[in-house]
Amino acid sequence: MRRLVAILKSLLYLFNREKFFKNLLVLPMQLLLNFLLLPPFAIVIYLAFVNWQPIFGSWTEAPFVGVNNFIRLFAEPRFYEALGRTFVIVIVAVAIEFMLGLALAVLFSRPFWGRRICTSVILYPMMLPWVVVGFTFYLLFLDHGPVNYVLSSLFGPSGMISWFRSPISAIVAIIIGDIWQWTPFMFLIFYSALGALPKDPKEAAMTLGASSWQIFRYITFPMIKPVVYVGLVIRALECFKIFDLVYIMTGGGPGVSTETLSLYIYRVAFKYGQLSYAAAVAIIVLLSIALVSRLAVRPLLKEVV
């Protein structure tokens, strides 16, 4: 019995040593991520170089076709259109969200009565299920919905637009929906950054004679630049993935004129079942995003490390 206790004690001792403790902490994360990430990486590469569709039966016997899928991808006009459309949405939406978010953060930086309630009203869109936001804006932009009502009362009946008929107005509707849901995210980042700033430098600038605008331009904004950068990078990458809003509001229509990259991949893979081709597209997208985020994060790494 005594020997058993001795073994147990040394095991416990081993168990407690820092190195063992350190690796044990990270183990669950590694297990989960490896389970979820590694096999799919292998599969997507395998799929991209064969030609397989679920209807052809088991994917293990699929014929090897080399880079055909990639060739087809780079020759596919619909892919480029979807990519172009996604870029347009990202650039316009994120730019407006950045300006609105910053303006709101400055507006809210000075305390006023009821600031807490107003802040929570501004933050709630971010929490909503994307599908609900999509559906709500779908209702708003209906031919006889409130938006057209406002337009008609302003510019008369001719001012009304049937939003989901023409591609441009459909995309504008989508962008407005995205702005409404994600301006709060940019607001939150700027608002917390302004809050975290030390107060002393601003007061010092005041005693040196700086007006509130000069304080913002020379002191406040430069100091929150790292956070602004992070906010923009994260929001741009997140917006690039836009799917729910488009799926609910326009379903990619009219025709494929508002189809974004994610919707295109979804259609090709899960509607038309061309999984090999979709795998090729997925690889290209994954690689480009990895490159972009690696580049975008590097200046930040220099700053933080």
Binding site: P198, P201, A205, T207, L208, G209, S211, M223
Partner: protein
């Protein structure tokens, strides 16, 4: 009651209340041109709040502030041209030292050549020449402090306010920087108001010291006055380290003579009898004697006391004595060899005996000789 010299700043019944907490209570003060005034008091006594009201960073609830007889009570800080050095220096961390220094001048649209001349002039005096290109966040503490003062001086302020600037600098370096600050102030003749909780710092720096407690001014006086003639029990206890020894004594008149009695010891106070009697001695008196003034020796000529602790401080030793049950502090030159456990004799020097009224906490008489 400002000293001789042109009146620069006047505070009149200034009061500041932070939702029901009275931070500053009816402060009236005058500061003359070229003076070095120290606000001294424990943390939370309202000294920093008063400083911030002079700079315009806080607005008083009541009272007025005048700068050269011009009312500036509600003027924003931008228009007061009053320099403020913060406790953690408040430099523009993302800018270089040069950009910090020129910030004020650029706002005033000074010509570039003029700015350059002035900056290099003051960088020379503050030994910042080789730090001009360094980012403020990477400086060491004393450099940060020098940049903070230089930056403020460059806008040639009416007066300079400093909020415990030497607080996080280690003792050895701190003495040197105090002497530099004092010398620079005398050379530039710039009026300064310096806030500190360290009584030694206030005594060595201030031409005049404003002792504050719980938002009120306890006493305003030269370092000599607040040390030798403390106006209240608080000032007596706060100035001087180790603090003044205090004894509850009774006032008795016996066969024509007036005595202060403590336990079975008595001291004749005939010379100051009328002052004491004018302050209702029956309400209770407090006798205060500074540890440095106590005569401590082995000859049997005073009250016996046992030495509990010897705390050497280099050139002098602080003794903790048990005088008939009450703890008393004494100070002796370190050459005098006294060690723990000895019995020594303590004599109260008549000229060093301060008498306070227990009721009003105010001083009645200083020295009964």
């Amino acid at each position: 009651m400002a000293q001789a010299g042109v009146l620069l700043l006047r505070l009149q019944n200034v009061k500041k209340v932070f939702n029901s907490f009275v931070a500053v209570d009816n402060v009236t003060l005058e500061v003359a041109e070229g003076e070095f005034v120290c606000f001294l008091g424990p943390s939370g006594c309202g000294k920093t709040t008063t400083l911030r009201m002079i700079a315009g960073l806080e607005m008083p609830t009541e009272g007025e502030i005048f700068l050269r007889e011009k009312r500036i009570t509600y003027l924003p800080p931008q228009q007061r041209a009053i320099g403020f050095v913060f406790q953690n220096y408040a430099l523009f961390w993302h800018m270089t030292v040069y950009e910090n220094l020129v910030f004020g001048l650029r706002l005033r649209r000074f010509p570039a050549a003029e700015i350059n001349k002035r900056v290099h002039e003051i960088a020379e005096r503050f030994e910042l020449m080789d730090l001009l290109k360094v980012r403020a966040a990477l400086l060491d503490l004393s450099a940060m402090q020098r940049v903070a003062i230089a930056r403020t001086l460059l806008i040639d302020p009416h007066l300079l306010l400093l909020d415990e600037p030497l607080n996080n600098i280690r003792p050895g370096l701190r003495e040197m920087m105090r002497a530099d600050l004092k010398r620079m102030q005398q050379e530039l003749g710039k009026t300064m108001i310096y806030v500190t909780h360290d009584q030694e710092e206030a005594l060595t720096l201030g031409d005049r010291i404003v002792v504050m407690s719980k938002g009120k001014i306890e006493q305003v006086g030269s370092p000599q006055e607040v040390y030798d003639v403390p106006a209240t029990l608080f000032v007596a206890g706060f100035i001087g380290r180790p603090p003044m020894n205090l004894f509850d004594v009774q006032y008795e008149v016996e066969n024509g003579h007036s005595w202060l009695v403590w336990r079975q010891h008595r001291w004749c106070v005939d010379k100051v009898r009328n002052q004491i009697e004018a302050a209702q001695p029956e309400k209770g008196l407090v006798l205060g004697v500074r540890p440095e003034k106590l005569k401590i020796s082995y000859e049997a000529s005073g009250i016996p006391a046992k030495v509990l602790l010897v705390q050497p401080l280099g050139r002098k030793d602080v003794l903790t004595l048990d005088l008939e049950g009450t703890t008393v502090h004494g100070v002796i030159p370190s050459e005098l060899r006294i060690n723990v456990g000895d019995v020594v004799f303590v004599e109260f020097p008549p000229e060093g005996m301060h008498v306070f009224s227990t009721a009003t906490k105010g001083a009645i008489v200083h020295g009964i000789s």
